[in-house]
Symmetry: C2
Subunit: 699 residues, 2 copies
């Protein structure tokens, strides 16, 4: 339940460099490490270790069957009629938005018996990757010789926007230029986009998240963490060319498996100084933020059942992130892990120093260190103002989008902020005009907390605080903002968007006014980040990347970027304290755990399961673990065998996998999946959804 | 459930100045404000407003019936045989220490049917105030003319220690010189000390804390937050001269009541700059600490029922403090409240500036501002090293006590640190050799968290962090420390204490070694605090105090100091959103609330109550609220009527009372008490404890 991209990395993706990965673990080089690009698969390694080299057809079929969901996870097509399988916790954002006080789909689960019963999701978007093109030369070619770092960074960003727009105009496909190897390469990813998505089936949270926060990041597990959506086109189920067939028997112990998904962000070869920044500045700061938000949402949830319901998805995300980040920080604080990094870096530096043809110099490390040192001084300011830490509110997010939209729309496409380019407009509007419910009481609670945090951080008498609070206490100001705004009304948003800059200037909506006043400050600190940190790092990490390419060639995969990657590994348990943790659990175990805890939360099976106890095949494999290299964002990734048949779906990593963010290890770190046989068994014998089983089986 | 001194103020009491209070509220001067000294009662105000002037006999009887408990609360003698009534949540520390995995007194409650069944508490100490003596002249007389601030501070502290020792030697009574009016006066408090204390009766937490964290700081309430201990002397129940008789009918709406208890700490007339320090530095820092500890203990509790049990008391304290501190911070962030303070201060400054005979000058404000400005720079260092934020572990606390004891014992009594003087030794040893259980797993969890906090605060490569962690990760170091220490063994502690400095130097116990290495750093920052902050503030706040005395005379009460005070007020509800919140609840309401929530936690009445539903008088008054001026530390304070008869026991304040820390208001702020009739009713008709009822009634 924790491999969401949004949980772990949404905020990070803007602030942390995507560094280059070379093997840095203590593992032998033959370890199942790597999040490989689909246009640069580790064919040699696979052949050498497993005697299996995926061919182009195999790879393309898997690539096109895999999807990315806008809620921050992965999934796959599992029928020719646009049926998508993902994790329940990837779908829970949509489930929450489709729920009301009297009909809570998270509690009850949902099965559409017919197409007509499928429920339209307000703002879920699903992307299916169609192709990848290397555009490195074109992006770098836009930099004038002798340009300084900031100018070069700007020139590259403008060319990326231009390429995206051209591609969109030409193909109609969603187009995104991805910075790989932190500037080593730039690849254009083209996606078919589905914005008409309906909910088909979801089990109850009680079984999807059986064991709750206690078992999160643990194994053995007994979770049916799946749900099904359907992509539509023009009101009809989408006809998809590529979808995954299901294996009859599922995976078995020791079997080679593949994972096609969207790992969010890793930092495996950040420089050591960059690691120190994460360890001493960014992660502690973010963990403190998560702790205060967790407490605030817990307090809110205590007010009553309905309050608990509306805060649930946010609270889960926070708890999940907290546990994950804490795991990474624990790794960063381990001198053994950092010592290893130091040795790897020292080796690389020695080779770079000895060979000027490699393209990098020791200055590149020094400049990154300097950039991070500079960022230490304004990291908090950046977080509060630009990533919105000071304004923890959905409505504020809407207000800021409107304010920025008005300003960005007036600029040439290539010069706009990411997210505001022509190629981003469909997605932007889907979110901006989403009918997903917004709860004023929750908005007030989170805004009180974040304004309080902001006030105490800068000091209540800081001019900016005084200006933004308008002489009020954080509590009174938050209430005034939420009570006073009209942005709950989608029509109002549309009118303001239509009115452009004039409408923004004329607006007296307090949220718009707040976002308008904050924006110049937020933009200034963003600019500072781009110039002093991002620009420098793009260049220097790019240089280091080229040196590593020269030394290691195709052995190198880029750090995760929430784009499609292939990981591989074997189905395998691990040894702990002299005991073997077996690779598989069975359905029987869920019932036994329920009994052991006398059905006390979070070990309470839903009634549908209790009723089916005599019916289901208790020996069905339920969850399994493997050595595949995954991380947040891989939630919902299909797991396939050599034949490309689906054998499971990733939903978690064990506690030892948390450090995968910074270094791979296959000794104890494991990816955790729901086994495909359990999914079919539950659909048939618990949820009476044989129509879905037939669809999945292509019958 | 939240008026414990330890929760709110234990750490604070060392770092925050005890400033002088004069009425600063918007309330009329006739408001029921004040925490009055027993040797300076507000007789004039009471006579004027209520036509009742307590006489010396009335006051002495109440004073000597009241007690202070070492767990951080208040209580009173309620029989001639040493029976003490306090809050369940004041007793819960002892209840936790008397519980085991298989016998959890917090869950089951406890009733001793005979004296033999009473359970000896490992380290609970009860103090009964015997007399107060003004020693201001002697303390100030020890300062040489022309001494600088630090020297003057030192001279005063030495004289305080001397007076305490003299008093102890002469009377055998526990003796404490209390700094009142932040240096305006010094009074010697003499206590009879009871260290032989047994548990007599406690209800189940389910009814003592009915409504849990949800209802904490709320009203209406339905809590039987009481428990009973008995003081012993030489193995026999203590014969006490003064104890409270119980009112037959209890209190009624509108009745004048008095509260005799130990408010922990208030800051009502800190200077405005001092308030800004609390608002911008201390409270945000402490709230962030509480949030991370709350999360850490929640995580620990999730591991299982026994883990939850052993963490429960700590977790409750943290949650309680968090809610209280958050309330105070909300007040500090309210420009209306601060604006009021600014106006009051401006008035006072104007009068001081105009009249040099008042003794203070505007420099006094400037010096306090400067002191707080200086403290901003090392507040965190002080917290981590001296108040032990970096080492959240009972065993570390023991190790530090042993390390300091060895060093302090070699010094002349007057020069020792507070807590290590001859007059403190009995209490020190009671705690140091307590048989209260210590749980290694909990120690590890809290130590991992606090060492992580320390590492990320200073940065993992800070020389001090490196030295204290010894090249290990916080996690590995915490495990090593807890696994390696022998201080769980009380005999080992005794031997080290006996061995003095040589034993400390020779010890290889990792906790002792850690405490030994940290101590010079901790002492250095403590010294810095004493010289740069405490010394300056004693002097300047003292000057300001004298000016206020000159202006206001006996209208002035000192800020709370966890010493006995008298508050008064009337039994009264309040108006909110046009609705009246009535002053009383009845026993019936508890059953109705249980029914409403279908007995779901925390609204689950214990079986003893459910069984007694037909038996009890449902119309018995249960809880009530009043305008009395109370704060953390008042937990368990007896509430008496004009006749000095007990009508209730304080256990909470409503949410509006949280700002009482910084400013009194009687508009909505209310103290919350258990009504005496409910206590007798429950003892008789629920707990079958008629023997206690007879004892209380003196029959």
């Amino acid at each position: 339940m924790k491999l969401l991209h949004k949980d772990l990395f949404r905020k990070l993706s803007m602030t942390s460099a995507m560094a280059l990965s070379i093997p840095v673990s203590t593992e032998p080089l033959s370890a199942d490490e790597g999040m490989w690009l689909f246009n640069r698969l580790p064919t040699r390694q696979l052949s050498a270790k497993y005697g299996f080299g995926p061919d182009a057809k195999w790879a393309e079929h898997l690539m096109r069957s895999a999807v990315r969901l806008s809620s921050g996870g992965s999934g796959s097509f599992v029928s020719s009629e646009g049926l998508v399988m993902t994790n329940h916790h990837v779908g829970s954002d949509a489930l929450q938005k489709l729920s009301t006080k009297d009909k809570n789909l998270l509690d009850t689960g949902f099965v559409a018996r017919t197409r007509e019963e499928e429920l339209a999701c307000p703002d879920l978007e699903i992307l299916s990757l169609v192709g990848i093109e290397d555009v490195t030369a074109r992006v770098n070619g836009n930099v004038s010789p002798g340009a300084d770092t900031a100018a070069a960074n700007k020139a590259r960003r403008e060319m990326m926007a231009t390429i995206e727009k051209e591609s969109k105009d030409k193909t109609g496909l969603q187009s995104e230029v991805v910075t790989l190897y932190q500037g080593g390469e730039y690849h254009l990813y083209r996606y078919k986009r589905y914005a008409e998505v309906k909910l088909v089936m979801a089990p109850e949270t009680a079984i999807a998240f059986f064991g709750g926060d206690i078992d999160n990041f643990e194994f053995p597990r007994f979770d049916l963490d799946v749900c099904f959506f359907r992509c539509y086109e023009n009101g009809q189920p989408a006809r998809v060319e590529h979808h995954l067939r299901w294996s009859k028997a599922g995976a078995c112990e020791g079997e080679l498996i593949f994972v096609a998904g969207h790992p969010g962000s890793t930092r495996r070869l950040n420089t050591v100084e960059h690691f120190r920044f994460l360890r001493d500045v960014e992660y502690p700061s973010r963990l403190a933020l998560l702790a205060r938000r967790e407490i605030a949402l817990q307090q809110f949830s205590l007010r009553g059942a309905e309050d608990a319901r509306i805060a649930r998805d946010d609270l889960f995300s926070i708890q999940n992130s907290r546990k994950a980040l804490r795991g990474v920080l624990t790794g960063l604080l381990d001198p053994v892990i950092l010592g290893q990094k130091e040795r790897t870096e020292a080796e690389l530096r020695a080779r770079v120093a000895a060979d000027s043809s490699l393209g990098a110099t020791l200055d590149d490390w020094a400049r990154i260190a300097q950039a991070r040192q500079a960022f230490r001084e304004f990291y908090e300011e950046y977080s509060f103002l630009e990533t919105g830490r000071a304004f923890y509110s959905h409505i504020f997010g809407i207000a800021r989008t409107l304010v920025r939209l008005a300003e960005e729309k007036e600029k040439p496409n290539a010069e706009r902020l990411p997210g505001f380019r022509e190629s981003d407009m469909e997605t932007l509007e889907l979110n901006l005009y989403s009918t997903a419910p917004i709860y004023p009481l929750l908005e007030k609670a989170t805004m009180v907390d974040s304004l309080t945090h902001f006030s105490t951080h800068l000091g209540a008498e800081h001019p900016l605080v005084r200006m933004l609070l308008g002489g009020k206490s954080p509590r009174d100001r938050a209430i005034e903002l939420v009570n006073g705004t009209n942005l709950m009304d989608i029509q109002v948003r549309k009118e303001i968007a239509k009115g452009g800059r004039a409408a923004i200037q004329a607006s007296s909506d307090p949220m718009i006014v707040l976002a308008r006043v904050v924006d110049p400050y937020a933009r200034a600190v963003r600019r500072k980040y781009e110039d002093l940190v991002q620009g420098v790092e793009r260049e220097s990490y790019g240089n280091i990347a080229r040196a590593i390419f020269a030394l290691k060639g195709a052995e190198v995969y880029p750090d995760a970027t929430f784009t499609l990657r292939l990981a591989y590994g074997v189905v395998k348990g691990w040894e702990e304290d002299g005991q073997t943790v077996p690779a598989f659990t069975t359905v029987d175990g869920a019932f036994r755990k329920h009994d052991l805890h006398k059905g006390a939360e979070p070990f309470n099976l839903p009634q549908s399961w209790l009723d089916a106890r005599e019916r289901v095949d208790l020996s069905t494999p339920f969850n399994f673990c493997s050595t595949a290299d995954i991380i947040g964002g891989n939630s919902g990734s299909p797991v396939v065998n050599r034949d490309g048949e689906l054998v499971g779906i990733i939903f978690d990593g064990n506690i030892f996998s948390l450090v995968l963010d910074i270094a791979y290890s296959e000794q104890k770190a494991r990816a955790v999946s729901v086994a495909s046989p359990a999914i079919l068994e539950a659909l048939s014998n618990i949820y009476g959804a044989d129509h879905l089983v037939r669809e999945i089986r292509g019958k």
